[in-house]
Amino acid sequence: MLTKDRRKLIIPFMAPGLILYLLFFIYPALQGIYTSLFDWSGFGLPKKFIGLLNYQQLITDDRFITALKTTLFILLIGGFCVFVIALSFTALLNSGIAGKKFFRAVLFFPNVVAPIALTTFWSMIYNGRFGVLNSFLIAIGLKSLILPWTDPDHILGAVTIALIWLYTGYFMVILLAGADKIPQEIYDAARVDGANSLQVFIQITLPLMWDIVGIALVLWMITAIKQFEFIYAFGSGIQVNPATWTLPIYLVIEGFGMRDPVFRLGYASAIGVVILVIIVVFATLLRRFLRRDVTQF
């Protein structure tokens, strides 16, 4: 009876959000895929169908290849560091030390701060003239380690370190929530058997929170591939060397004429399709590798 009466709600409750979602999310997304088959050099100008020519051009575009490499570098190298560090901190905080909530809050904090604030902070660290990092290296007598951190050769590493700093706290919070779900008795049993903290974490905690690790990896994958704002603001986007352009950055620069007043709408849309394909491929791969039984408590 209850359900039957409530059915009247379905349409009025779903309609507003569904219409917005279809009209301003799904429809333009499909339109984006379609646009990638056209040569189109400005809103209001005619489009010319060119099939897969945009994609063919992408393969030979050095800037695209660099952007693809940058995105993959952040995804894989950055992701490896984020998860190794976040898991180590999770193991430490989950072992019952004091100050768990404090560390969790402090490490998470940068994630609520505007990227523009964080990048200004980091650009002051790396600044060659009066940067904190170089003046710190001089102060502790390691003058030989001074580098022009924002040079094309070093900036990708420098940006990735900043991203690792930002996201480790975020993913640690997720992983820690997974670790905390595991009942205490299981640990007690392991400790009675004489296992040390590291063994306990690797052999007990990690397998039991595997489903959470999987969710966290998928989230990281999406976060890393969509990476735009933090890097774009790092040294003010377009002024910075293309060495740090990610695929989304290259898309916006090409599509919205951020560098030259040239709009390459079809070409930029093709980059968008590539981003989508990368996400789908990695999501499928992750699902394959992570398929394990979910532990219920």
């Binding site: 591939i225 898309l251 849309s269």
Partner: protein, 297 residues
């Protein structure tokens, strides 16, 4: 809600650990704490350093990035507010973000309610359809969406930006809210229905109050995300007076190499940081449980 705080982790000390000797134990503890303590110290000092720098003069900043200001320079803020028009941008941000968050909740909560409480043909599929939006990199839809908005004369307007923000936030919000609604008991709704409340009344008088912690968490998340957002604003807003605070600061940062007024930028950055930082300081537990709302149950 995540139960990270429910389980207290106080492992019993195994006799073998006690035999190890006090000094060894302290040394071991010290080294396991050291990385996270350094990490947290760096983060805290970094964030404080931004605030301190915003009270210095440019000359003080160039001569020493570490030193405290000789005199606290409040005029950095006055200048940022009036001369750089950040006050104007702040009002735009408040207008856009508050309305967006309100509308996001008004359209998403009913959807989440229908999807969790009423089983109908295709409800499962619709759920997945909304969730799929989280995996779609929204750079792919920027070009068609901008084209649409330009044709309708919705581009370069704050209400237009609100429509973009609301539409793109729906998948994430519906995902989190369905997870949360599913965890709430149905008995109260059934009781209200038996008392003769209409389905709509049941939703507004029983479900909404019951779900208010989850709604608040989702509201905070959207608030922080949109408050800090500048990529969409950069694409959809072209008129200077319509910039949001994040976008205004991005542009200000871009002109730093010409103006060199770093302390003014830092004053603006403190302004953009304050609302989200205050939210976090008071509601960090709620937020931290929030990021595990959807995935970690």
């Amino acid at each position: 809600m995540a139960n990270s705080d429910v389980v207290t982790n106080k492992p019993e000390r195994h006799p073998a650990v006690i035999r190890e000797g006090l000094v060894q134990q302290i040394v071991k503890q010290f080294f396991s704490y050291l990385p996270i303590v350094l990490w947290a110290t760096f983060t805290i000092f970094g964030m404080l350093w931004i605030v301190v720098t915003s009270f210095k003069t440019n000359r003080e900043l160039y001569s020493s990035v570490w030193a405290l200001p000789a005199v606290i320079q409040f005029q950095n803020y006055i200048k940022a507010w009036a001369v750089v028009k950040l006050g104007n941008y702040l009002i735009n941000s408040i207008f856009v973000v508050f309305i967006s968050v309100g509308v996001i909740l008004i359209v998403s909560a009913p959807i989440a309610y229908v999807l969790t409480r009423i089983k109908f043909f295709g409800s499962e599929l619709l759920s997945q359809f909304f969730t799929a939006g989280m995996g779609i990199p929204y750079q792919i839809l920027l070009i068609p969406l901008f084209g649409m908005f330009a044709a309708w004369h919705w581009a370069d307007s704050l209400p237009g930006l609100i429509v973009v923000y609301v539409s793109l936030s729906i998948p994430f919000t519906v995902y989190l809210l369905t997870g949360f609604f599913a965890s709430l008991p149905v008995e109260l709704e059934e009781a209200a229905a038996l008392d003769g409340a209409s389905p709509f009344q049941t939703f507004t008088t029983v479900m909404v109050p019951l779900a208010s912690p989850g709604l608040l968490t989702v509201a905070i998340f959207n608030f922080i995300g949109l408050w800090n957002e500048y990529m969409l604003a950069m694409i959809f807003i072209t008129t200077e007076s319509k910039r949001t605070l994040s976008l205004g600061l991005y542009s200000l940062q871009g002109s730093m190499q010409y103006t060199g007024d770093w302390v003014g930028l830092f004053a603006g950055i403190v302004m953009v940081m304050i609302p989200t930082a205050v939210l976090f300081i008071f509601l960090s537990d709620k937020m931290i449980s929030g990021i595990t709302l959807g995935g970690v149950k």
